[in-house]
């Protein structure tokens, strides 16, 4: 089993339409590095000069990584990483 990364709608053009991508990695950082290796187009959507864009949140099993160990948050196989950007319309 691998780590699952849930891809939000605005980034799916960069993942070939995939809503969920399997990656490998022991931390959030390693998992996202693997995501970018598989789908380089996601990079600029997610990061700006190496920093996570301020309107995108990363959750591991529904908990904000800022409450865990940020990008160093440990992951184990089978866990889900969700990328959640702010929703603007209304």
């Amino acid at each position: 089993m691998a780590i699952k990364v849930q891809i939000p709608t605005p980034m799916r053009e960069q993942t070939g339409g995939k809503a969920e991508v399997e990656v490998a990695g022991g931390t959030v950082k390693a998992a996202l590095d693997d995501l970018l290796r598989q789908f380089p187009g996601v990079g600029p959507k997610l990061f700006d000069n190496g920093k996570l864009r301020p309107y995108v949140n990363v959750f591991v099993n529904d908990e904000d990584i800022r409450y865990l160990d940020e990008m160093d948050t440990k992951l184990t196989d089978g866990q889900t990483v969700a990328l959640i950007p702010a929703v603007a319309g209304g």
Partner: protein, 351 residues
């Protein structure tokens, strides 16, 4: 109505143990400022007016258009035909629904110069807007003046909402520190929107409003709700421990009200004699023209070079031409009204 008991109309919700007569009376004595009366806002106003929210100030800068009718539940074809401002059209419907409460329609562009006045006296601020500029302004005002507010957003089949209680929950900037730069996220014009997604988000928001206004703060949802009606997902994300983000949040921890102070957001300048308005955006970073063009080509003619992007569209028979620069600034031809230009900017370039 001919009821002898004015509370009879609320009997079904008063029978709900969480509310009761005491909760209903608090609701009737409450005051709400509703920022924006589009898709989210009409659902919010409809629910609150029926529930007996005693005073509802409804603010919106736009006029009812045919493309609103698919999801903006208070409007109909006659409002379009009569070219009515949304706030006024909503007030007519809301008063017909419940004549025992007070509706105050205000046709205005919410900005940093008027938002504190518009929210003064309110027990709660509701987000019925369609852009982050207004949401960050609401967040600043709410934290500054210690008022709760409820964020909601919807685009495509997705939606999100969160309740902010100053001093108790994280604020909007704890969770989303900065607004997406113009063009970086979809808007309802560029990505489309399904009415049920908006209805569900606004219904969550309205429930939170009823809890807060009836004295049931303990029942408030303190997590971020994120849902997608097409993909059948609904999550509650734990953000509660972020309150004040360990002393780092610029707004609720450091009390720097950057949007209210004008450090962020848009500014408009009417370009005399040109039937054009310049909308400036104080955003960091550069626009990605290739991406913005791919989004806008669904709505009109787009072309771009290294320096600028041109976008032409026809809306309700009126032609407009956008010239967008790399820093997010745009000159919008086809109007001399700053409010219209802001609306067009928020719709197509977005926040």
């Amino acid at each position: 109505m001919t009821d002898t008991n004015p509370l009879e109309r609320y009997s079904r919700q008063m029978r709900f143990p969480g509310l009761g007569k005491a909760g209903q009376e608090k609701l009737l004595a409450s005051r709400v400022t509703l920022c924006g009366c589009g898709a989210l806002g009409t659902v919010l106003a409809n629910v609150l007016a029926r529930a007996g929210g005693g005073f509802i100030r409804v603010i919106d800068r736009d006029v009812v258009e045919p493309s609103n009718l698919q999801r903006q539940v208070l409007f109909d074809e006659s409002d379009v035909a009569n070219n009515l401002p949304k706030a006024e059209a909503a007030a007519v419907k809301l008063r017909a629904i419940n004549s025992a409460i007070t509706i105050e329609p205000i046709v205005a562009d919410i900005n940093r110069t008027n938002i504190e006045d518009l929210c003064s006296g309110a027990d709660l601020i509701l987000d019925g807007s369609d852009n982050f500029e207004i949401r960050y302004l609401i967040n600043d005002v709410a934290i500054k003046h210690n008022k709760p507010w409820v964020y909601g957003g919807a685009v495509g089949s997705q939606g999100m909402c969160m309740t902010i209680i100053p001093g108790e929950t994280p604020c909007l900037r704890c969770v989303f520190e900065a607004a997406p730069a113009p063009g970086e996220t979809g808007t309802c014009e560029t990505a489309g929107v399904l009415a049920p997604a908006v209805n569900i988000v606004a219904s969550y928001q309205a429930t939170e409003a009823i809890k807060l206004l009836s004295g049931n703060k303990q029942a408030v949802n303190r997590e971020l709700i994120s849902l997608d009606v097409w993909e059948n997902t609904s999550k509650r994300m734990k953000v509660a421990p972020l309150a004040g983000r360990k002393g780092e949040c610029p707004c609720c921890a450091k009390r720097n009200f950057e949007w209210l102070d004008g450090a962020h957001g848009t500014q408009t300048t009417t370009l005399c004699g040109r039937n054009a308005v310049q909308v400036s955006h104080r955003a960091k970073g550069k626009l990605d023209f290739a991406y913005l063009a791919s989004v806008l080509k669904q709505s009109g003619e787009v072309s771009y070079n290294k320096f600028l992007l041109k976008f032409q569209l026809v809306e309700n028979g009126d032609p407009y031409e956008f010239t967008v620069f790399e820093d997010g600034r745009a000159i919008i031809k086809g109007t001399s009204e700053p409010d219209k230009a802001r609306t067009l900017y928020a719709k197509y370039v977005g926040h």
